[in-house]
Subunit: 317 residues, 2 copies
């Protein structure tokens, strides 16, 4: 008699799509499905739809042993198992998501925000396998981050730790969506780098970017890859803010590894090399030349499910 295959369920809830799947201990996504989050304005209907489809995936996989379910979602609180006042979701107020899912399953269900899930995903399956102290930085529309210390996620006393994007890097700097000024994510994110490009282009038109109808982080990266000087300067400026912030972060938690994920991180050395340089320039001597910055090793298409499912593997270890 062979023993049952062990799998974890990962569910990633985004404003547009909710993706979910079954993942083995090595990070292979064995089956997955998705629904449109916005089709379910009533959260109970959403939970019914997801759990039905998850059960279908489980039965398709020859009835594996499910060790647990991890959910990544915006504004998620690990301690309470709730999603609290998420501006990009239709469910208002405080949503007791873990309790709602737990009614349908006999395995443990846990919930955290997407950046924490991504951090644990890198630690369980990805670029930070087995690393006990790491920082995950997701450079998307905003800047998300997740911290692992002593092998555990840092939730903080209220479940809201890990807001590196909202550390202030420039006093009286750019206005941030949070209502304050100079937050790191106003510089180091897809949105931030486009702002920088517009500022730079207002001073100089000597760039292939100046002919474009719309500037995106991708068009800036493409121009930089072609050697466009202004585009390279834009990356350098972005990296200076990020590298400086990472140096201050290292002084606090001294991670072994910093993992970058998201659109901007896909530009690889364009962002990693100058960020590493500015980070080293600002580091206390005892931390110099021993902390790596690496890109995520999770396949972008599976990363959200993998991250969420890693919460279940972590709890069962």
């Amino acid at each position: 008699m062979t023993s049952k295959m062990k799998l974890a369920v990962g569910v990633d809830i985004g404003g547009t799509n909710t993706v979910f799947g079954l993942v083995d201990a090595e990070g292979n996504c064995k089956a997955q499905d998705a629904i449109k989050t916005g089709d379910y304005p009533v959260v109970e209907d959403f939970v019914t739809a997801v759990q039905e489809r998850v059960k279908a995936l489980i039965s398709d996989c020859n009835d594996p042993e499910i060790i647990g379910m991890g959910i990544g979602a915006p504004n998620a609180n690990y301690y309470t198992g709730t999603i609290d006042f998420a501006p990009n979701l239709k469910w208002k107020g405080i949503v007791p998501l873990v309790a709602l899912f737990a009614e349908h399953f006999d395995f443990p269900v846990s919930l955290t925000n997407d950046a924490n899930a991504a951090a644990m995903g890198e630690r369980i399956y990805g670029a930070a396998k087995g690393v006990n102290d790491l920082v995950m930085v997701t450079l998307g529309t905003g800047l998300g981050s997740g911290f692992v210390v002593n092998g555990e996620l840092v939730y903080g006393h209220d479940g809201f730790a890990g807001e590196l994007g909202h550390t202030i890097v420039e006093k009286n700097g750019r206005e941030c969506g949070c209502g304050r000024k100079g937050c790191l994510e106003t510089y180091a994110s897809a949105t931030g780098i486009v702002k920088t490009a517009k500022e730079f282009l207002a001073k100089s038109t000597d760039s292939t970017l100046s002919g474009l109808d719309e500037i995106t982080s991708k068009s800036i990266a493409d121009a930089a890859m072609e050697g466009d000087k202004l585009a390279l300067d834009i990356f350098d400026y972005t990296a200076e803010k990020l590298g400086f912030s990472l140096a201050n972060t290292i002084a606090i938690s001294s991670p072994k590894l910093i993992v970058l994920f998201g659109g901007l991180a896909q530009s690889g050395d364009l962002i990693i090399k100058p960020t590493k340089k500015y980070m080293e320039d600002n580091l206390l001597k005892i931390f110099q030349n021993k902390i790596s910055i690496v890109p995520s090793k999770l396949k972008a298409s599976d990363a959200a499910i993998l991250g969420a499912s890693s919460l279940a593997w972590q709890s069962c270890n």
Copy 2:
């Protein structure tokens, strides 16, 4: 038959004095002694002297059950149990202190730096009893810090985490002993506040401080207590830097509590009130009005021994 009293040994190694004692689970120092660190240029002689005196204390206490020994020391590395290149100690290079002490005792010995020991001391006996997420800031000659996350000390991958004093708070700011510029400890420390006073006095002599031969953090605090406007401005300036840095720190680790210790912290509300104000001004909304700044609750004369001994209680829990 009554059960034996359980005690932990705490040893605090400073450049001038080494103090040690026996501490019960409630933080009462049952017996203590001290030697001059500088009298022992050979570390083996130092260990012999300390262990003999510790054994004498133990036998004086009616042969209690010793649960372990914790040592706080500058440049101490928890992982390796060594003191590495401490500029203020006579022992050069890498000193295997835990191994040297362990030869003499049959209970576990652990070592960390003074600020980490202080953080655990507050958690086990002091102002942060039972708090799982806290930041300890010691405002002495420099600025030391210790972080507790999920109930455990944050050592980082190399044992050197917790250098809040060397996060850069002013780009191209004051020169720091570490060779860089603008580190928090050049502003928020006994040395830093005296520098601020000298800068302020160079611009205005309208203060009782201008008549003094020597300015110390104590004389600034005394003047501020008397209502001296310039002295109050000096505290405000110091608090602005500290409050700003704490706000950025909170965004990362979201502690429930920040505990201040050391000379400057003894000025109480003079430093705590404006620091709290600037911290709140710079906090992301989700963190506002829920994180306290409090002074240490450990008796200053026992604090170093208590902090060190708390390492032993933590390990045995």
